[in-house]
């Protein structure tokens, strides 16, 4: 057997292997596998190699965007009856079509902009269930699929507070991003890591909406769940990333409890430690960063947040970690002292967090040099 003489003196993280598997041509992938097999460093890394081969075959088996929308018919068993498959035309049910289109737009954002093939980066099918239970005023990600209630559809119109939960495309993006987080940073759903988990879902949910509407940062409304509240409620939506705490103020629902600054951080045992409350703080940091950078928010600000979610944040990361790590990512992507890095610093400063760029980068990637050399080897080196 011919031994390729490009020694790769590093352990390539599995996600990188998967990236190569999805990006490279067939011969590039074979070359990469062969090289890895002959590399000293890969001895004892059989599991990683098995993952790699698996990734190649799974990728080959999956075409890309694949969606199924199910109807729970107001029951609680999941997933329910399939009512629209990938490629099927619209149905007469607006809720089904919203779930289909919204999950498609979310897939497209992650795929086209961040080069990520679905939730798990391996082409996982996007399953949604609509019409879950009766009078179910919620939507959630159950670890495998999205689930949407119809709001207060079982009450007289004059008493309804919530519309159907597929009504806002950012809610769909929000739920799917919980899936991405589950496969990447795995942020624990409690306290600050939980609020970061929530914030990531709002960030990419809002970016799905902005991209669908082709809006620049200064044209977007930055509202999460616009249209979800009925006319009986005094409110513009569920949350606002621009001005946390001002989305609604209503005699029945109360007032939006979100803080937009660390000085107003809410300590509570409710809501898994305020995950839907304190997410206002990192939400606003993203908004300020995106506004500083101008243009389409999904391009630079979104890229910085995405790479941080994918490669940097861990299960127990807190707001300060996220500030430091987005700052680090900005320097890796756009250079130390770049405008992008300054925008990130300003974003967090506005919410009361000073980025600490003095600590050395965490060694999540053992030597960027080996990564670049591997990418060059298979002809997939990123442009600088």
């Amino acid at each position: 057997m011919h031994t390729h003489n490009h020694p790769i003196n590093c352990i390539v993280p599995p996600y990188m292997l998967e990236d190569i598997a999805t990006k490279g041509t067939k011969s590039q992938r074979e070359l990469a596998i062969r090289t890895l097999k002959t590399s000293e460093q890969m001895r004892g890394q059989r599991r990683a190699l098995a993952d790699f081969s698996g990734a190649v075959s799974r990728f080959a088996a999956v075409g890309g965007k694949e969606r199924i929308v199910y109807d729970a018919q107001n029951g609680s068993s999941l997933p329910g009856t399939p009512v629209r498959n990938e490629g099927d035309g619209p149905t007469s049910d607006v809720t089904v079509n919203e779930a289909y289109d919204g999950s498609g737009a979310t897939y497209d954002l992650f795929n086209d902009i961040y080069n990520r093939n679905s939730i798990d980066a391996k082409g996982m099918r996007l399953d949604s269930t609509v019409h879950y239970k009766k009078g179910y005023d919620n939507a959630f990600w159950d670890g495998e699929q999205m689930v949407y209630g119809d709001g207060d559809e079982n009450l007289p119109v004059s008493e309804r507070l919530f519309n159907r939960f597929t009504i806002a495309i950012d809610i769909i993006g929000h739920e799917l991003t919980h899936g991405v987080t589950q496969f990447e940073a795995k942020l624990v759903y409690s306290q600050q890591p939980g609020a970061l988990n929530e914030s990531m879902s709002d960030v990419f949910g809002s970016l799905v909406k902005q991209r669908t509407l082709n809006q620049r940062a200064d044209e977007a409304d930055w509202i999460i769940g616009a249209g979800l509240l009925t006319e009986n409620v005094n409110g513009i939506g569920i949350r606002t990333m621009k001005a946390p705490g001002t989305a609604y103020d209503d005699p029945v629902l109360g007032k939006d409890p979100q803080p937009g600054h660390m000085k107003d951080y809410v300590n509570t045992v409710s809501d898994n430690g305020g995950v839907h409350i304190n997410s206002g703080i990192p939400n606003r940091a993203f908004y300020v960063t995106a506004m500083e950078l101008g243009g389409y928010a999904w391009e630079k600000a979104g890229q910085i947040w995405y790479v941080t979610l994918r490669d940097k944040l861990g299960a127990n990361s807190k707001f300060q970690d996220c500030a430091n790590l987005t700052y680090l990512t900005a320097s890796e992507l756009y250079g130390n002292g770049s405008l992008e890095q300054k925008a990130v610093k300003k974003g967090w400063a506005e919410v009361g967090l000073t980025v600490d760029g003095s600590t050395p980068p965490p060694t999540t990637e053992p030597g960027d040099g080996c990564l670049s050399s591997l990418l060059r080897l298979i002809g997939a080196a990123p442009e600088k």
Partner: protein, 107 residues
Amino acid sequence: MYIDKIKFERTGGFAGIRLAAEVDMDDIPEDQKREIIRLIDETDFDELPKKLSGKMPMPDEFVYSITVNSRGKEHAVLAGESSLPNNLQPLIEVLERIAKIQMRKQD
């Protein structure tokens, strides 16, 4: 079981909007009172742990807190939607209904 009062709270959910009720057993209709007592007895409420957390919380699921006050003794149970035992579900539904009515009466 004799019950003086029940405090109910639902937090979390995608919207993160709090829903809460205080049910004074003397203030509700007799048939509703009987239903609630029956539902609580069926769950062996006193025996339930303070925190029901079978699995990791599902993102955006509701979080429920039920506190039963009986002759000055309080027992509180906290549970996420995914870790709710089946027999607690009907009680949650009744309390949710009461809370929604109470909320609308506040203004």
